[in-house]
Amino acid sequence: MTDTATRAPAEQNLIDRIAGGFVVESEEDMTPGYKKALITQLMVQGDTELMSAPAYYLASRDAPSINSRIAVTAIVHDELGHANIAYRILEDLGVDKHWLIYGRQPHEFKHPYGFDQPLENWAEMVVANGFFDRAGITLLADVHQHTSYGPLKRALVKVDREEVLHLRHGESWMKRLARAGGEVKEALQRAVDWMFPMTLEWFGLPDHLKRHSGQLVYRLKGKTNDELRQTWMAATVPLCEGIGIKVPAHWDAARQEFVLDYPFSCQYDATAKRWLFDEPLTWEQVFDRWKARGPMNERYVDMLQGAFRGWLAN
């Protein structure tokens, strides 16, 4: 946490007002520090929603029935709408929406590493809905509840409601695949094996390593990264245990929290889709892995930008 003595008086004044319940409504209410933290938060939020669309779209082709494919394409439609909400708010803060979508290189998007990975079968698609969308709603419900930025709080009502449906789609299909047993359940287990640690990483740096969070100071969110991870596990660990699917985490009754059964974090083999629990990484190394981007980064961005470039060319 930044020492309050080193903060500019205007920054400290805004932080104090926010702590007292002040709701920021326009740019005039903001300090440079607040605006910068808000823009970063909205870019991560919008890019995450945007990049889920090509990932889910490709996987929708593995849907086992027309109704389940329609369900996934409707989810893709929702996600694009959610990205538009974040980008639309960014426009009010002076960021060009067209540049956000079409003007950036693949590695410049700020979505999590999980959305650089291919979803290659129906089990991975529904675990993405069950895990990734659960992460999305965990993060966004916290923002919705705590954010000091009024326009975002209001916009998130619709987003939260739609994410609940995605989650429901994912979890009901996970239960169904587990009940089917045999190879179907094995495919579900394989998906969970790489996607569970992938989602935990998504919440970012552990609290004991985090020195400063503008997002918390400006109350752009309410819970810390570790608290959000616990919230996510409180839903996903019992879900998986209830359907006979193993996860590398368990409830520790003495500590009254979920505990991971592997080094957090560690190396990931993106080609084999396998976590190497015997190769722990520092968080510096994790950030390097994220920055190098995953196997689908360029293809997903090209799917989003390619049609527009084709239209320009003609």
């Binding site: 029935s65 109704n67 389940s68 329609i70 369900a71 394409t73 409707a74 989810i75 409601r161 449906l165 429901r168 789609h169 009901s172």
Partner: protein
Amino acid sequence: MAGSPTDAEVWAALRSVTDPEYPLSIVDLGMVYGVRVAEAGVHVDMTFTSIGCPAIDMLVHDVREAVSALPGVARVDVDVVWDPPWTKDCISDRGRRVLAMYGVVC
């Protein structure tokens, strides 16, 4: 049919199944076309507001769960039918009032 639910009890159970977007039951939306209670189980005829509705699987599942929870129901058959086609005229007066409160004109 000792132990089977009455038609009214089945309709009441169906009122607990809500649309994923609006705070309105599928009964008020006019999506339930008929209920038959027989020795073998309960049969529900229902439709959807569009053939491309992404929530078909989900709502059929919800209907099964709601009706199965009634005492004496061993089996639930849900038939998705498209005739007559659903229009907004199928929405009940109560449904219209609720939707109006949420700013939806129909």
